[in-house]
Amino acid sequence: MQWLTVLYLVYTFIAFYFLFIYVLTYIQNRKEIYEIIKPKKIFSLSIVVPCYNEGKSIGKNIEALLASEYPGLEKIIIVDDCSTDNSFDIIKAYAKKYPKIMVVQTPTNTGRAAGAKNYGAKFVKTELIGFSDADSFPEKNAISNMVGFFNDNEMGAVTSRVLVENRKNMLSKIQSIEYKIIAFTRKLLGFLDSIYVTNGPLSIYRKKAFDDVGGFDYKNLTEDIEITWHFVAKGWKVQMAVLANIYSIVPEKFNEWWRQRIRWNIGGVQTVAKYSKKILKCGMLGKFILPFFVLSWFLGLAGLFLLVYRAINYFITKFLIAKYSIAANISILRFEEISLNPSILFLFGLLLFSLGFVFTIIALAYSREREYDRTKIRDIFIYSIFYLLMYPPLLIISFYKYIKREEKW
């Protein structure tokens, strides 16, 4: 067997395995995906919102948090990270109007969300501490739907479902699909105690657990991934409330999206590097989350390699055949050379893609949302075929930047 065939088989085996983990988890738990747990008591809660030059959206974020139905929300702490726009003035105006709002400012710009979040956490005295991004807007029942999970004393963190607020162009519409799929798969991973990130737009932590892990890692570009791994490593449980919807503004321009993804990927690499010694240790962190992360990278890189290798080979061969055909004075195109005898590898690939596509449709069908239109099949195809292809190059560049220590926010 050729090495390329072996690589392809390893690739498809891992991809099938991950897909079947999701499919079986979904089949076995589909009735509990939307489970809401009623809190046994009113947990006191403070929400910390880091803010740096978010003048356009901070007001909307504060209003969305103020509209929360959760009675235990005692404080909304807005941390201005020395903004240079009018953010601080807006926050102060809200603080004057609403006593629930507390405004603090970092002594100097921390340069990273983790810095402002840790600074804000110093002012929290409640049982639970939540974090929200200034460009994200939770639904009024989002927090209420999350806190019930803290009935379990071992529950360290509960995360929400992030959906896209601005679906104006193709890029943001595709991200809307991506976010729904991520939310769906994250919920499924929750059934396996394997949630690997508690998102920035809205996550709530038990203050004791937050202090136990020492807050956010300032050096990490994706502090929300790192802290989740830290929770799991320390034995805290992490869950997700699917019915806790929060709408977030996503990049509408390709270069902004690219920068954001590079940052996320570098953060992922930093986290894996930090916890690499935990492989096969620390419960699900070492037994599944870490291998899952690394193998997902392998899938992305191997998939890209196979695709590029085959494409380059194909096009160079076709180019040379065309060149030599002209020299030999024969026709370039031959219909009799089209083979209708696909290999088993092709059939494996087709099956994998089809199952993945069906899974995507199911994930989207399960994404109960407010007034938004149904997702178009065209957009799902663009997401499945073209958008996902961007992941491996992003990863390669992120690896490069990580090695070069170009870890800018």
Binding site: F13, L24, N313, L320, I321, N341, L345
Partner: protein
């Protein structure tokens, strides 16, 4: 609430292994069927070749050159069609090596046909014999492309001149008799074309066969 369902890891592994096993078995079955089909063809071709060799032997006793010509062209055309099928099955065959063995067998048959046709054209000189020597599974794309164009060029020639025998033989199959023939005709590189056992050509432009109007 929230009880963990980690048994799904084992279940998913079992399902994946099952899907892979089914896929492998189906793949091996398809490849084996393709092999069996071609193997049957090759046996028939072998019989046909033996018949041709017997005819050459008989021609020593003034047997009809016309029958010999028809027989050899018919055999070469049949083997050529089977070679196309063989190539198609080889492209799609990823799990087993059986088709490769069959390829070697076909190369052996075509080498025998070359020897048999050499005797026939020496005696009768009533058709053209074109032996195309190529490399099996070439590593570089350059050679792959060059060979592909040679195949097309020769196929065009064959279509325009049905009164000729075209024998494509892979030269790197470790067949001793073939090696001797290659040495005998002074072939310097592959791919190359030997026309009527007289001329060895390496360039497309040199593919001019003066006796192509033979009947």
């Amino acid at each position: 609430m929230l009880k963990s369902r980690k048994h799904v890891f084992w279940e998913a592994l079992i399902v994946t292994i099952f899907v892979f096993l089914v896929g492998f078995l189906v793949g091996i079955y398809i490849e084996q069927s393709n092999f069996n089909k071609l193997n049957d063809y090759s046996t028939l071709s072998e019989v046909s070749l033996m018949d041709g060799i017997a005819l050459v032997e008989l021609s020593k006793e003034n047997f009809s050159c016309e029958i010999l010509r028809e027989k050899n062209i018919e055999f070469a055309d049949k083997v050529f069609e089977e070679a196309k099928l063989l190539e198609e099955y080889e492209e799609s065959g990823k799990l087993t090596e059986s088709i490769k063995i069959l390829h070697k067998k076909y190369d052996m048959l075509r080498t025998l046909a070359w020897i048999s046709n050499s005797n026939a054209i020496d005696k009768c000189q009533n058709y053209d014999l074109i032996v195309y020597l190529y490399e099996y599974n070439p590593e570089g794309v350059n050679k792959k492309a060059a060979q592909s164009v040679w195949s097309r060029k020769l196929l065009d020639y064959k279509n325009e001149n049905p009164n000729s025998v075209l024998l494509p033989i892979s030269a790197n199959q470790e067949i001793t008799s073939l090696k001797i023939l290659i040495e005998k005709y002074g072939v310097e590189k592959i791919p190359s074309v030997i026309i009527n056992n007289e001329r060895v050509i390496y360039e497309y432009d040199d593919l001019i066969i003066p006796s192509s109007d033979k009947n």
